[in-house]
Amino acid sequence: MKILGVETSCDETAAAVVSNGTEILSNVVSSQVALHRPYGGVVPELASRNHLRLIDSVVEQALFDARASIDEIDGVAATYGPGLASSLLIGLNVAKGIAFAAGKPFVAINHVEAHLYSPLFANAARGALPMISLIVSGGHTILAHATAIGTHEILGQTVDDAAGEAFDKVAKLLDLGYPGGPEIQNRAENGNPRAIDFPRSMLHDGSYDFSFSGLKTSVLYFLRKNPRSRTGDVCASFQEAVVDVLVGKTVRAAADLRVKTVSASGGVSINRRFREKLGAECAQRGLQLLLAPAALCADNAAMIAGLAYYQLSRSGPSDFSMEIAPSMGLGAGGFSCQHS
């Protein structure tokens, strides 16, 4: 069963074709990072306008790369939330239009849920469930316990800033480029992660929640008091603080719930230090680690098409009256809010 997926929840215009929830036949992401760089940040107006300009050619490219005509597609899926309303509208309506015109089932997908299950799509290791899943990106930092695809509970999430946002804002404080993650990672290579003792917020509070706002403020105050500090040391010490909390809470959740598999997805999960430390902790504790491949970490449509296969098989198609849900969360029960 081949699903065409469309994703326009934030800054990326993306389309992909995935077979049976695992085989990625195409994965087109019209990355706008290069376009945005001169502005020192992602500029959503350009993003929104670009979705409209790019969506047709991105969908066509995805079908072309997959060597599939629309007749050979068995369903059309799109993200309906969470995200920016004006951006979500474009992808959702294009997908509905294609599905309706071609007489195919339409599937509305929760973007965060697609991130959650993305480590499974490429690893073909569905026997690995239950798993503790960390979703960590520019907009989200969520720890969840998934027992089957579409069945999960949220253990904790950030109470203020997402981890990726902290990377970007600290990069801004240091006058580094955008996006902040790769810049900080690269400078951290030449720095001492123990040079500055930045706070590990909430690491030992017993909860699975995260907080990165105080860390950002700590870096701000540190830079004010130490304007001549080595950037490499600040980057390495900041990165270490973020990674310690992310890894610490994830492996503790696995121990507490006696779950033997851990997964990580989302843009921040590509961070080298994060992968290294999570990998070492999991190896030491005998945990199986599933990492989403890099192509599925940043926002993409393959994860949308991947999850849509399971959702279509289990819950059937979504109604064409389904509207965008910009502020939707991960949901407590899986395939959340499908028929609301």
Binding site: C10, Y39, G41, V42, V43, P44, E45, L46, S48, R49, P82, G83, L84, A85, S86, G138, G139, Q157, T158, V159, D160, D161, A162, G164, E165, D168, K169, K172, L173, S213, K216, T217, L220, Y221, R224, P326, S327
Partner: protein
């Protein structure tokens, strides 16, 4: 409670309580325009506003998605963050006017980016972080 005298808060919880008092008084259509640098405490103040409105959901930073919407309180709260934007035109392109005339209360972080679009009735709040965790809050 709206005072022209600056208020100094000395902790996250105090900033939150300031926001909470403001939240209790907000009316449908009110716009709270927040001004202040990274780490000033803008999101903390909005957390307080949400609490004052009786919203129990966790308020998190909307930097990436630009707008978070909270229902379940006395009024809906639209939490807008313009950090990633450069101009009022970009704010219009994401539909900012719908939040300036919204069916609830709207709190806008990085309001300096849309100075020309702010309604005359907006409650303008500047937060400045000095050392030792002190935040100066000025309401205009």
């Amino acid at each position: 409670m709206i005072t022209s005298q600056p208020v100094d808060t000395h902790s996250f919880e105090e900033t939150l309580r300031f926001g909470e008092r403001l939240g209790r008084e907000l009316q449908r259509g009110d716009v709270v325009a927040l001004f202040g640098d990274l780490g000033a405490g803008k999101t903390a103040l909005v957390k307080g506003i949400a609490r004052g409105l009786g919203i129990t959901q966790e308020v998190t930073s909307p930097t990436f998605t630009l707008v978070h919407e909270y229902t379940g309180g006395r009024l809906p709260l639209f939490h807008v963050d313009l950090y990633r934007l450069d101009s009022p035109e970009q704010a219009l392109a994401i539909g900012i006017e719908e939040y300036l005339n919204g069916p609830g209360a709207t709190a806008i972080e990085w309001s300096e980016k849309i100075e020309s679009l702010l309604p005359a009735t907006a409650i303008r709040i500047r937060i400045t972080a000095s050392d030792n965790n002190v935040r100066r809050i000025e309401v205009a």
